[in-house]
């Protein structure tokens, strides 16, 4: 493989992995608090369409990202209202959010189909961007790529070094105990759910404003679900989320490069495109085979409703 191909594939892999990282890390926090939000796909779709619309109207992609984040949080707030205040079933509510979000995004996004945005220029980090092979791929990137790295480091610190992270883990493990020693379980869970929604919204915004600067119905294409699978694959550890996201990014990019390379291989493009989805399944199987891996690492109260007694 020649050097420029390597660099461009690495570049594309990082770009493809970025929305997965942002969304999956948000969901990780969400799940660490014991709340399972299956609606990531819907929150991402809403984030994507809101970001696109605002960027299109205002011309400012950062306003767009803020709008995407806001839309994701609004969806998450709706979910929180259902499962935290009204104690609805988390699985059913998450599915509802996924279906509703995708539908609502298609509805409000109708006028923006077939509208193009200007590509946002990358941010070049002086000096290290000149490194051979990896410099151009890693350090001449979109701002949100750098954000995803900052998010990763911040989360590592938050979960393992900060008091708030300790409280979050405690709430996810045993909400009843956390309540008994005086923590406001519901409020903490709301914050975690909102954080998850905010990240899903930003992840969606990345897709529609930076990745492929356009809006199309169904453009999230299962990335919300893949992010959910990533969190399981990563056994709720941020580092493994990073690794997993780039692996998926690599799979997506490889199949695109094969399709676009003009290599004379006789393999239908549609079947190649299904590769990332098969990869998700394979990875899930690999990580779930030993039941204890999941059981030991998953937040104990994940998915279980909790209501403090008054």
């Amino acid at each position: 493989m020649d050097a420029s191909l390597f660099t461009s594939m690495l570049f594309a892999t990082v770009v493809a992995g970025t929305p997965l990282i942002i969304v999956a890390l948000g969901l990780l926090v969400n799940e660490k608090a014991g709340v399972l939000n299956l609606g990531a796909e819907g929150m991402m779709a809403m984030g994507a369409v809101a970001a696109f619309a605002v960027t299109h109207e205002s011309g400012n992609p950062w306003l767009g990202v803020a709008a995407g984040m806001g839309a994701g949080m609004a969806m998450a707030a709706l979910f929180g209202l259902l499962v935290l205040t009204l104690m609805a079933n988390q699985v059913a509510s998450g599915l509802a959010l996924a279906i509703f979000g995708v539908g609502l995004a298609a509805f409000v996004g109708k006028p923006y189909e077939a509208v193009a945005l200007q590509a946002v220029p990358p941010i070049r980090i002086p000096f290290i961007a000149d490194l051979p092979l990896i410099g151009e791929a890693l350090y001449n990137q979109q701002a949100l790529v750098y954000f995803s790295w900052a998010l990763f480091w911040g989360l590592l610190w938050f979960l393992h070094r900060s008091r708030a992270g300790l409280v979050l883990r405690a709430v996810g493990e045993s909400p009843a105990s956390a309540h008994a020693i005086g923590y406001p379980v519901i409020r903490i869970r709301y914050l975690a759910v909102l954080f998850g929604g905010a990240m899903a919204g930003i992840g969606g915004a990345f897709l529609s404003v930076f990745y492929t600067p356009m809006w199309a119905e169904g453009m999230v294409a299962g990335r919300g679900w893949i992010a959910l699978a990533l969190v399981v694959f990563a056994t709720w550890r941020p580092l493994r989320v990073m690794v997993g996201a780039y692996l998926f990014g690599g799979v997506m990019v490889t199949q695109l490069f094969i399709q676009g390379s003009g290599l004379q291989i006789d393999f239908p493009s549609q079947l190649l495109s299904s590769l990332p989805y098969w990869a998700t399944i394979v990875v899930l199987v690999a990580i779930s085979r030993n039941g204890n891996t999941i059981r030991l690492n998953s937040p104990v109260s994940l998915g279980k409703p909790y209501r403090p007694e008054a």
């Binding site: 493990e173 008994a180 005086g182 008054a310």
Partner: protein, 531 residues
């Protein structure tokens, strides 16, 4: 400002009133948990709160600790009226609480658990040193860096106590603290509590165990049906007189006559070993046991020593890879499903009533279908015969005195005692040849407990083999013909109940029975006696 309510005898007053409750009531939609409760606790006083399950003890403590808020009433702390808004507020006042079901986080370390309950942001290293200091001072050894899930139940309790002590409490609430301890460990705990009281800390000690209260407590307040029914000085009472205060009548006793067991082995464990499915569980190691027709064999032990795993292996919920280690009515059953084992004549009453022994949201008739469907002809050609299910549920209700709204009542609408009577009835009325029973009367009121014990004895008198696994030694000695102990996943020799004593069995519960082997270096899952 001294508050002269309720009147206390002067000689019980060890100091000024630290906590005073006046007219505390707490109403839930379905029940009134507390009604017009008055209480005074003085400095350095150990006061028992005595009452049956459901008498309102735990609710009252949660009110004092700020977990729940009272519907009405006043609370005074060191002379000032307070409304405790939260556990954090309670702790800042100087109130600590050790919960019955611990409020610890399994996947966190000891020091992290303690940090969560302290105000501010304590540095974990410094905190670990303080934990060691306190633990040495009060004889509560614990390693601050270990994860909670790796600790025994007794060690966990120490963590809870240390967590309270680090905040220099002036009132310590202990909710049924001895239900998880061996008799020897209970004595150690009492030493610690007396020392605390001598230093001026007040202690509210919640229990339904009369002899413990007589040994430990200066004073006692008795609750029944959410109301204060009396006060006493335990040292001046007999267990019988306190029981009368607690339940309003004489303690019921079971009729248990000595009897020759049959020769037929209905349950045999033949070198049973099994690695726990749960990563935090206990492995079973080389268990041998015979239970004959017409006898009740009891297995004692501190919880978490392999009881759960043993029960799942016997019931078939955790089937084995081999057939021979579990033999039911002469059949090698190690690999059979629970349903197949039932067809061999086994019945099983699990420890958890709601969610395992019964489906909470389903009616009693549906819950009858749960285990009796085939045995009682409730299925024909794959379809259910609801009439038969209702009739069988009706029989359970009538013959086992289940107070409920009929066969259509949901299982979760029943009180613990009535649901347990229903489940025991459902299993016994299928005329089993072998009954396996876990914690048959845990959390059940005294009347229902005596009723259930008597029914188990009657079943044995009709020739059924019965295995009872319980953490209540009194119960085992009341109904069992023979008793063994489980500790660290191993089973002790079996002794005739009349040839042994609670004290001996208590020693065995630490894993120290004649011929017991100890692997060097392996941490004991139970309490070891500290010299």
């Amino acid at each position: 400002m001294p508050i002269p309510y309720p009147p206390l005898q002067p000689d019980t007053a060890a100091g000024p009133a630290r906590l005073v409750l006046q007219g505390i009531s707490k109403a839930y939609p379905t029940v009134v948990a507390n009604h017009d409760i008055g209480l005074v606790v003085r400095a350095g006083e150990i006061r028992a709160i005595l009452g049956e399950n459901g008498a309102g003890k735990s609710t009252l403590m949660k009110i004092i600790y700020g977990v729940t808020r009272p519907s009405s009433g006043r609370m005074f702390w060191e002379g000032e009226e307070v409304a405790v808004a939260s556990p954090a507020h309670a702790r800042s006042l100087g109130i600590g609480m050790v919960f019955q079901h611990f409020s610890l986080f399994e996947t966190l370390t000891v020091v992290e658990n303690v940090a969560l309950a302290l105000p501010g942001k304590p540095a974990l290293d410094a905190l670990a040193r303080r934990i060691v200091e306190v633990s040495e001072r009060y004889g509560l050894p614990v390693d601050p860096r270990r994860h909670i899930h790796a600790l025994s139940v007794g060690e966990r309790q120490r963590v809870e106590i240390i967590r309270c002590l680090l905040q220099d409490p002036r009132l310590l609430i202990m909710d049924e603290p001895t239900s998880v301890l061996t008799p020897q460990a209970v004595r150690k705990l009492f030493e610690t509590l007396r020392r605390l009281a001598d230093e001026g800390c007040s202690i509210l000690y919640i229990s339904h165990k009369l002899d413990e209260i007589r040994t430990l407590c200066h004073t006692a307040t008795v609750l029944r049906g959410g109301k204060v029914t009396g006060e006493c000085i335990p040292a001046q009472e007999t267990p019988a007189s306190m029981a009368r205060l607690m339940i309003g009548k004489e303690l019921p006793r079971c009729e248990h006559d000595a009897r020759q067991a049959g020769s037929e082995v209905r349950l045999r464990l033949a070198g049973l070993s099994h690695a726990a499915d749960d990563p935090f569980g206990t492995d079973l190691r080389d268990l041998h046991l015979d239970v004959h027709a017409g006898e009740i064999v009891g297995i004692a032990g501190v919880s978490g020593n392999g009881q759960q795993e043993l029960l799942r292996v016997i019931s078939g919920e955790a089937p084995l890879a081999e057939k021979f280690p579990v033999q039911i009515c002469g059949v090698e059953a190690g690999r059979l499903s629970p349903g197949r084992r039932r067809r061999l004549g086994m019945a099983f009453v699990p420890e958890e009533r709601l969610g395992r022994g019964a489906v909470p949201t389903m009616s009693l008739a549906d819950n009858a279908l749960l285990t009796a469907a085939h045995n009682q002809g409730m299925v024909a050609a794959g379809f259910l015969r609801f009439g038969r299910a209702r009739a069988f549920a009706r029989r359970c209700i009538d013959e086992f005195d289940v107070r409920c709204g009929g066969t259509a009542a949901a299982a979760k609408a029943l009180s613990g005692g009535n649901l347990q009577k229903f489940i025991v009835g459902r299993e016994i009325l299928q005329a089993p040849r072998l009954l396996v029973c876990a914690q048959p009367t845990w959390g059940v009121d005294v009347g229902a407990a005596a009723f259930i014990r008597q029914r188990i004895i009657d079943l044995r008198n009709r020739g059924c083999a019965v295995l009872v696994i319980s953490e209540e030694l009194d119960e085992l000695f009341e109904i069992c013909d023979r008793i063994a102990v489980i500790a660290k996943g191993r089973l002790s020799p079996v002794r005739a109940a009349r040839d042994t004593s609670i004290e001996d069995i208590g020693v065995w519960m630490s894993g120290l029975w004649p011929g017991a082997e100890h692997t060097a270096g392996a941490p004991l899952a139970t309490e070891t006696p500290h010299a």
